[in-house]
């Protein structure tokens, strides 16, 4: 390997690409060449570095100086001052807004605070298009250990002992899921990676795929070995153009090195992966709808049971795991279950990747131990609410999660505590809203989403989402009736009990929590025909 005096990392995730990151990278390479530094300094395009709204962001190693947002015009100055003369360009350093605190060290930038990176261990640190760099950070060592030193049953046992639960929303214990499929007797089994990521406010899977695609390949191959499957599919939503490209490159590289294909590491175990591209349907994230879609049909969920673990893709036993779940597997194998249990809570070990969106100063991706409180996430890591406004509510778990008021800011962020609070951790989306927003207007926006995304197969969901939207629309336009609150509650309960899949069961959750915690705002719209925040134009 060649030795470079410095490395310059340029964020190549989707938002930064639109912020002009490719142009910045090209300018950097050109300028470094012009200054005759090409042999000393290497430019690396990496996955997301975290603070999405500061992009394009670049980091200079070994110092770890964080610059952003960087414009093409700034590049000559950075190269001349920092790379040639070794002087930090103060003016361009990324600042944590609004406190204007400097982000200097990448390993521990101030905004990382209580963060702990297991899933995102490589994101932003390696070139995702280089399998060598992944290997250089212990990549494929876990697969090697499984194939050479462990029996499939031992792998499952280890994952069970780690306490890992699925990160796709349902929080099902991963080891147990693998065990069901391992025990099923069949000539063919499959591993599916669910990268459909349609939950509004969620973009963690995209950034993992863009930043560390090999970790998913390795996780899937380990799952394949554990359950006896030799074929995997990654189902990526069609909108994720860069994720699809990077994943394909990674699969090709892994095949070239014999990390996918027949007889991996001479163990006799073979495994291969193909990508399937989604076509824009939220419901396809539901595991049985996803299977229908891979088979080439309309993505309508199947009735469960039977579960995919025994009757999945083409009727064969199938493990469906989320991207983040799979990214946890290699470090768990390498470091052991006790290490993993050292993070998070007793019932929910490990970390969780959250995406912070809405009215919050530091938007973007964070990874924290399970069980940290909502208040810590918003104020310690997220930098609080911008513009001097007040916190009004946070929706956890995406559009199908509940809305929590200020009184619940100290709820621990793990699957069980949030479920007890009437909400959900779900995919890890966190939407923060300040006091300028109207509850009815937001509820209407949520229901518009579900009404559009309901697949129409079952009546409670198809009709329920439509009717809830209509009622919200009437309330918001001053045509609400006194009985509407009870009607919505009843409708919501029917949907929760009678819908075929999780879409219809979860769709009323935000409405129910809003009726519970912010009932007075609905009443103001209905009884007084006024919108307390003035949003609805009543």
């Amino acid at each position: 390997m060649e030795f470079y005096r410095s490395h310059v990392l340029v964020c190549g995730g989707t938002p930064c690409v639109l912020g002009g990151c490719k142009a910045v990278r090209d300018a950097l390479i050109g300028e470094i060449h012009r200054q005759g530094l090409s042999r000393e300094i290497k430019v690396v395009e990496t996955g997301c570095l975290g603070p999405c709204d500061l992009g394009p962001v670049i980091v200079v190693y070994p110092e770890g100086t964080f610059y952003g947002p960087v414009k093409v015009e700034d590049v000559p100055l950075i190269v001349e001052e920092h790379l040639l003369k070794g002087r930090v360009v103060d003016r361009l350093i990324a600042r944590e807004r609004p406190a204007e605190k400097e982000i200097v060290k990448y390993e521990a930038p101030s905004y990382l605070g209580p963060q702990k990176r297991i899933v995102l261990r490589n994101c932003g640190l390696i070139d995702p298009e280089s399998v060598e760099e992944y290997i250089g950070r212990d990549g494929y060592a876990a697969l090697g250990r499984c194939l050479s030193q462990m029996k499939p049953g031992e792998v499952i046992d280890l994952v069970k002992r780690s306490g890992l639960v699925g990160r796709g929303g349902a929080a099902f214990p991963t080891g147990l899921k693998w065990e069901f499929t391992a025990k099923a007797d069949a000539d063919q089994k499959y591993i599916l990676c669910n990268a459909d990521e349609g939950e509004p406010g969620t973009f963690k899977d995209r950034l993992i795929l863009e930043g560390d695609p090999h970790s998913i390949i390795e996780g899937m191959a380990i799952a394949g070995y554990a359950v006896g499957a030799d074929k995997g599919f990654v189902y990526i939503r069609g909108e994720y153009v860069i994720s699809i490209e990077r994943m394909q490159k990674a699969i090709d590289q892994a095949r070239r090195l014999g990390l996918l294909g027949e007889n991996i590491f001479g163990s006799g175990f073979g495994f291969d992966i193909e990508i399937r591209k989604g076509a824009g349907a939220y419901v396809c994230g539901e595991e049985t709808a996803l299977i229908e879609s891979i088979e080439g049909g309309r993505g309508e969920p199947r009735i469960k049971p039977p579960y995919p673990g025994t009757h999945g893709l083409w009727g064969k036993p199938t493990v469906v795991n989320n991207v983040e779940t799979l990214a946890n597997i290699p470090p768990i194998i390498l470091n052991g279950p006790e290490w993993f249990r050292g993070f998070g809570t007793e019932r929910c070990p490990g970390t969780k990747v959250f995406t912070l969106t809405g009215d919050i100063n530091n938007k973007g991706l964070i990874e924290v131990p399970m069980g940290i409180t909502l208040r810590q996430v918003i104020y310690e890591i997220g930098g609080g609410i911008p513009g001097g406004r007040e916190f009004k509510m946070a929706q956890t778990g995406g559009t199908s999660g509940g809305c929590l008021p200020r009184e619940l800011l100290d709820v621990p962020m793990d699957y069980f505590s949030l479920a007890e609070a009437g909400s959900a951790l779900g995919s890890g989306a966190l939407l923060i809203m300040d006091d300028s927003h109207c509850i009815v207007d937001i509820a209407r926006c949520f229901m518009k989403f579900f009404r559009h995304e309901s697949c129409g197969k079952c009546t409670p969901c198809r009709e329920g989402t439509d009717r809830l939207y209509e009622i919200m629309d009437m309330v918001s336009s001053g045509r609400g009736r006194a009985q509407d609150i009870d009607l919505m509650t009843e409708l919501a309960q029917v949907m929760q009990r009678a819908s075929l899949c999780g879409l219809g069961q979860a769709a009323p959750v935000p409405v129910l929590t809003m009726l519970k915690y912010f009932r007075d705002e609905f009443e103001a719209h209905i009884a007084d025909r006024t919108c307390p925040t003035g949003t609805c134009g009543l």
């Binding site: 969620t202 909108e239 926006c445």
Partner: protein, 151 residues
Amino acid sequence: MAGIITVDDILTKYKGRPDALIDILHEIQDVQGFLSDTSIIKVAEALDLPASKVYGVATFYSLFTVKPRGRNVIRICESAPCHVLGATAIINALEKELGIKMGETTGDGKFTLEYTSCIGVCGVAPAIMINEVVYGNLTPDKIPHILSEYR
């Protein structure tokens, strides 16, 4: 230069693979801009599927369209994180700038305005997608400049 890809080329590539229906529809739409009745019937015949099944799939997924659209499709995210940070103002700015309403195509066939659910770039909300390119951190005053690249 490679010749123009036709529907027949795509169907030859996926012969006997009904499971590849969604990939086939993606590729045909990339080439033709939308999925016409003629293409749908061709696909059905080639894969030995009922045309109703192919049409059912084509109309289930929101990335597919069975009607011709403008040369540039602008998809505006209207999910909650974008809504909270001002998607409505972006919609108004686009409608005003193009002189059409959501769901419509401009008279010169250059632009179509559509809604989309979250496109996974909420960290830079509000966001839109023009064809395959994502634009984020939008404000109404940035719209004319972005559109000028496509005019």
